[in-house]
Symmetry: C2
Subunit: 334 residues, 2 copies
DNA sequence: CTGAAAGCGCTAACAG
DNA sequence: CTGTTAGCGCTTTCAG
């Protein structure tokens, strides 16, 4: 086995508790003994057992990060920043993927529950009840979902989606469609609400095509609905859906942006690479990962015993690129 | 606190050790008592403490996964599959990102060391010595690097890179450049070796441009070197570098594939989305994640006490798309 | 087959 | 300021 606190104690000629203090409460120990202990510890290559410490203190210094799909480009920036941020707080991150499956989400939460100090749920698909239930056992921070008595990090998608519809309106589109992702997605609901509000405000016609999977395939699947609606401008659930949509539209003879304008959501690099380069609503993924971890750790280690739940709202913006243009005067193909 | 084994024991009218057995060694317990205990346990909502179990058994049932850059599209498929695979084995995965920094890698390995049963290192940048050192403390599986006394999962990049150079040669390119990523990258070395071998074999001239960061910016940075070399066909370290290269070449008036042909490596969806769509060497990321976890768990739980190190070699293939074409007869711009 | 007891490595009162 | 003494929740001998 590895070298333990006991070995250090023996080698330094002190009791284990002194070693423990020297390590985790330095001010409670004579500076000379402390230095001696510390030196012995490093000489021996002592590394504290995270596990033993967790057992006594009840703090694992681990957090769970649950996302829908690691391979969806929306998530990696969040994972990356969350993990980096956790590290500076002295925490490690378990990452798990639910494959867009609400049941997997619940199960995962439960396996995590006993071995983390808190959980970050990104774009959760689970029911409020399920989330509330874990919320009673340990701190949970939600990203892109609001729920009573829980901290959350929100991206101001309403603003972004409103801007997207406004942009389409400015271009001259009078009939707009929104393609929504999975049923029950909080973000989807926000996009829809904002789109409807802006459309009503400007006297634009708005149709909803939903639900489709939040993937490029989902975008392809939405093509008939979009074409049938007769809309000339589309706001898609995310960049992947937008990309699939553009591809599917092309296959049906409708060019983007000549015949139909498409706006994505995320500003993942997928959208930047796509041709036409995607007009999209930029979502602050990296900032969200950081903010979520900060909120979670604040909930785990309340600075002054206060158990407040906080909300961080992050801004979004519209990035206009090449997938949007004024509507075509000519009748649409087919 | 949560319900413990003690609570279950009391409620079931047996000793804690019996509960423990009923849970983790069912065959050692009378089937009637076992069922009673199990029922009480579920009724009480008992969940074993991962931490306590880890302390006694010395197994955390956690593994670490260290990658260079979570946001680099090469990694997410690996993370996703590794994490899923670990779960079916009853393990959880810590994911950490070194930001392409060898020192961060070493530090991370050390913080992980005491709280995981093993580590998967993907495309490690660290020194052999550093890796060997941890390898003495706990099982380490390497992805895309070979090191004595360690299991590893290799992608047959030699084959892929050879095919890439061969493809360029078939197209009629007589002068080829390879753009390599970070110094010390194992994969980079393999690409170079394979490219040199194939070039020699076919009597092609080969130049090396290196090192550059393994990012799109790195690709842009490689443009002068490529242009100076006079090569008409380029094999890039990865898709991101290829994409940056194409962009940078365009900015200097060299069109791809009209003036220069470019081959990427990875087959990330970045390459599929890029225009021109990237000709690339497909790297089996998902399969590698799975294989690495399998090898690691095999090392953690040797089936028969044998401490063998194994090697899994995964195939690669060349995917020809639109970024390669026969060389231009006209002199190159500038 | 089941109970008793020891102990994993560490922290946290409590004395002194 | 430092040593003693209990555990944290669980597994694992060792008896019976």
């Amino acid at each position: 086995m590895a070298v333990t606190i006991k070995d250090v104690a023996r080698a330094a000629g002190v009791h284990v508790s002194t070693v423990s203090r020297a390590l985790s409460a330095p001010h409670l120990v004579n500076s000379l003994t402390r230095e001696r202990v510390l030196k012995v510890a490093t000489d021996l290559g002592y590394r504290p057992s995270h596990t033993a410490r967790a057992l006594t203190t009840g703090r694992t210094h681990n957090v769970g990060l649950i996302v829908a799909d690691i391979a969806n480009p929306f998530f990696p920036p969040i994972i990356k920043s969350a993990q980096a941020r956790a590290r500076v707080h002295g925490y490690h991150v378990f990452v798990a993927d639910t494959d867009e499956n609400p049941r997997a989400e619940e199960e995962l939460i439960h396996t995590f529950a006993r071995q983390v100090d808190g959980i970050v749920l990104v774009s959760p698909r689970g029911t409020n009840k399920a989330i509330t239930r874990v919320g009673e056992e340990l701190p949970v921070v939600l990203v892109n979902r609001r729920l009573a008595r829980h901290s959350s990090v929100l991206m101001d998608i309403e603003h972004g989606a409103g801007r997207a519809v406004g942009h389409l309106g400015d271009l001259g589109h009078a009939h707009i469609a929104v393609v929504l992702g999975p049923r029950g997605s909080w973000t989807g609901g926000r996009i829809r609400a904002a789109a409807e509000a802006t459309a009503a405000d400007r006297g634009l016609r708005l149709d909803v095509v939903a639900p489709v999977p939040p993937t490029a395939e989902g975008g392809v699947a939405a093509v008939p609905g979009v074409l049938d609606s007769g809309a000339t401008g589309v706001v898609a659930y995310n960049d992947l859906v937008a990309i699939g949509l553009i591809e599917g539209l092309a296959a049906r003879g409708a060019a983007v942006p000549a015949d139909v304008s498409v706006v994505g959501v995320d500003d993942s690099f997928a959208g930047r690479l796509n041709r036409p380069r995607l007009t999209t609503v930029a979502m602050p993924g990296a900032a969200a990962g950081r903010a979520a971890v900060d909120l979670l750790i604040q909930a785990i280690e309340p600075p002054d015993g206060s158990l407040t739940t906080a909300e961080t709202m992050l801004g979004t913006s519209l990035i206009v690129r090449d997938s949007t243009a004024p509507p075509n005067r000519r009748p649409r193909p087919e």
